[in-house]
Amino acid sequence: MHIHRLEKIWIAFGLVMLAVFLTVLGIFAFSQGVQTPHSYAHQGVDPEKLSETPPFDQPGVYQIGENEYEAVIVTYAFGFNPGEITVPAGARIHFVVTSPDVVHGFEIAGTTVNLMSIPGEVNRVTYTFDKPGEYLILCNEYCGIGHQAMYTKLIVI
């Protein structure tokens, strides 16, 4: 198959760029810890029995280290449990999230905390809140008629 010289150069250029992007992406994900949200082992929870299943039987923010916290969150139609969260600046928070009903999104606007809360599954992501302020937590996956009213706040003091 005859391929024009300029096209060979263009495709080579394209392949190199794609390889560079994938390498950057991969290094940041696997060795710098900027990974997609996920559960560490495939961990299932019964969405109908959250009130009896740790840690979701006691949603809340728990200190686990020096300015390090685990935030156990239940996303439901149409709100978040716990509601408002307050932490000091520099707090490193490990979010642990699930849903007792339908799929919800868990987005903290202006940050990279953005994950899917899926009934039956536990999702996790970690973020350090260096900047003080009031952050908007909202649901970004359609979950029913109250979807646009599903939000709360995270305050960093």
Binding site: M1, H2, I3, H4, L6, E7, W10, I11, G14, L18, F21, L22, L25, F28, A29, F30, V34, Q35, T36, P37, H38, S39, H42, Q43, V45, P47, E48, D101, V102, V103, G105, E107, A109, G110, T112, V113, N114, L115, M116, I118, P119, G120, E121, V122, N123, R124, E134, Y135, L136, L138, N140, E141, Y142, C143, G144, I145, H147, Q148, A149, Y151
Partner: protein, 546 residues
């Protein structure tokens, strides 16, 4: 008076095209209303909800308008390049397919209007719609399988009568497109037939949510290539004829389609990067495959600009960019697809951003994503289809496309491009600022961060209105097309620059390509899906939350 393609074939094609454009108009009304609600301009009257409109908009635009236009267009091209007449079998299958799809569309629309399927076009479990909604979707898909069988029957018939010859490029590309569609719809068919329908009827109590999402997105990504490949057919096969040129490389065009057939499907996880239940390893593997599927689009970009340049230089235009002036800017048959090509540059780049882990974390489920697909499907695809309609409809109805229609078309597509620029531009910026998609009008209780998104919502409303005005121009044009003078309109099909012998025959070995596609799917999906089946999370009961 010569008929471009057989009259009976024309009837099949026209029915599909008009059905598609009708769906577009209704979907367009919905879209405009959505924008105006979010922009704070109107409140919806009682009896219709925002999310109902959004469901209708997604289903009509992304599933009905696209599928019907694509099937009509491809039947027309198949007829044209295989001698001007479909076999009775091919046409018959085309009609049965049309009716199944049309009935499915009607049932689905009724369910949506009755507020029994306000689940959006992705119908994520465990939101539970009426079983008739899922049955409607199944009918559309099964209908499309029959339409595809009709197209393949035509192709097979041509090959039997032309043993040893390479197939016409349009026909090859149509077969590749439907081949991808069969592979893709397998996923959604399995989840709809074996999960959603039994569950929504109440025959099973619970549904495996992760499995249903995974099967949906197994389908959802190649769906966008099912939309794109017919657009590439227009760009590769039709546009060169319109500009007075030839196909730059028939072989590479076929290779691009083979690569799309191979790499469009084993990539669905890039829509699921923020989900639990799939390990980072499999997500990254499918992201690598996603980046590979960029390659056929790079090949296409080169081919198009090479065609423009060689055509311009052959006409005597000189200098680095002199050939640009050779292009028929005042011909909507060229202008519209060209606008589609331009939109696909930021559209494609946006797609690569979306598939990149760390950037995905910022844009997932924000309205940036909506901005992205309004550049790709709502511009690159839609505006190319508009450009096709302006010559296809006169061609198959035995009428002459006039300069008046051309001018109307130029206004219409220019308005569309402007509307998209305003709306999609606002969506991209607002999404980067965190604004969510799929969300009705809200200020989040006067939140300061959310207030930043308001001006962009106003811009989206303006863009939506401009798009609607563009649709009015299209409706006017369609009415005028009924009263065009009888005559002939060319069905533009370009010839190849290189002789037929230059195209390697191995490109047409479908068994090899489908086999390789299957291998890639097994590599990308077998283990993660096996894991979802072997260690299933507890199933979910249905919820009707609207």
């Amino acid at each position: 008076m010569a008929q471009t393609i057989d009259r009976a074939d024309g009837k099949l094609v026209l029915t599909h095209i008009i059905f598609a454009l009708a769906a577009l108009m209704i979907g367009g009304i919905a879209g405009m209303l959505q924008g105006m609600v979010r922009g704070g301009v109107i409140e919806l009257p009682g009896g219709i909800g925002y999310y109902q409109l959004l469901t209708a908009h997604g289903v009509l635009m992304a599933l009905v308008f696209t599928t019907f236009f694509i099937i009509g267009f491809m039947f027309s091209g198949l007829s044209k390049v295989t001698g001007g007449k479909l076999t009775a079998t091919s046409r018959g299958l085309g009609w049965v397919g049309f009716w199944l799809m049309a009935v499915g569309t009607a049932i689905g629309t009724v369910m949506i209007l009755a507020n029994k399927a306000t689940v959006l076009y992705t119908f994520y479990a465990p939101l539970k719609a009426s079983p008739w909604f899922y049955i409607a979707l199944a009918l559309v898909v099964v209908g499309s399988w029959l339409s595809g069988a009709g197209m393949i029957a035509q192709y097979v018939s041509w090959r039997k009568n032309h043993k040893g010859k390479i197939s016409p490029l349009f026909a090859f590309m149509a077969v590749a497109t439907m081949g991808l569609w069969y592979i893709a719809t397998l996923g959604v068919a399995i989840t709809v037939l074996f999960q959603f329908i039994p569950w929504s009827f109440g025959w099973v109590e619970e549904i495996n949510v992760m499995l249903s999402r995974t099967l949906f997105w197994y389908f959802g990504h190649p769906l966008v290539y099912f939309w794109l490949m017919p657009v590439y057919i227009c760009w590769y096969v039709i546009v060169p004829k319109i500009i007075g040129g030839k196909i730059f490389s028939d072989a590479l065009a076929r290779l691009a389609f083979v690569l799309l057939l191979l790499f469009s499907t084993p990539v669905g996880f890039h829509h699921q990067l923020m989900e639990p239940g799939i390990t980072p390893f499999w997500k990254f593997l499918q992201v690598i495959l996603t980046f590979i599927v960029v390659v056929p689009s790079l090949i296409t970009a080169f081919a198009l600009f090479a065609t423009f340049e060689t055509t311009g230089r052959a006409k005597g235009y000189k200098g680095l960019f002199g050939w640009f002036k050779a292009l028929p800017w005042k011909d909507v048959r060229f202008l519209a697809p060209f606008m589609g090509m331009v939109a696909f540059i930021p559209g494609g780049i946006g797609g690569m951003i979306n598939a990149s882990h760390q950037m995905n974390a910022l844009v997932h489920n924000t309205i940036w994503v909506t901005g992205h697909f309004h550049l790709t499907v709502a511009t690159a695809v839609a505006i190319t289809f508009f450009g096709i309609a302006y010559w296809l409809i006169p061609a198959i109805t035995g009428r002459r496309m006039t300069e008046a229609i051309n001018r109307l078309g130029i206004i219409q597509v220019s308005l569309w491009a402007l509307g998209i620029l305003v709306m999609s531009g606002a969506m991209h910026i607002s999404g980067l600022l965190g604004a969510p998609r799929r969300t009705s009008d809200t200020t989040y209780n006067g939140n300061e961060i959310a207030a930043q998104w308001d001006p962009y919502n106003v811009l989206m409303a303006i863009g939506g209105v401009i798009l609607f005005i563009s649709l009015i121009f299209m409706a006017v044009a369609l009415i005028k097309m009924i009263r065009l003078p009888k005559g002939e309109t060319e069905y533009p099909v370009a010839e190849s620059l290189m002789p037929a012998e230059a195209t390697p025959r191995w490109l047409e070995r479908w068994g090899v390509w489908v086999g390789l596609a299957a291998v890639l799917i097994v590599v990308a999906y077998a283990i993660p899906i096996a894991d979802l089946l072997a260690n299933p999370a507890p199933g979910a009961k249905g919820f009707v939350l609207w």
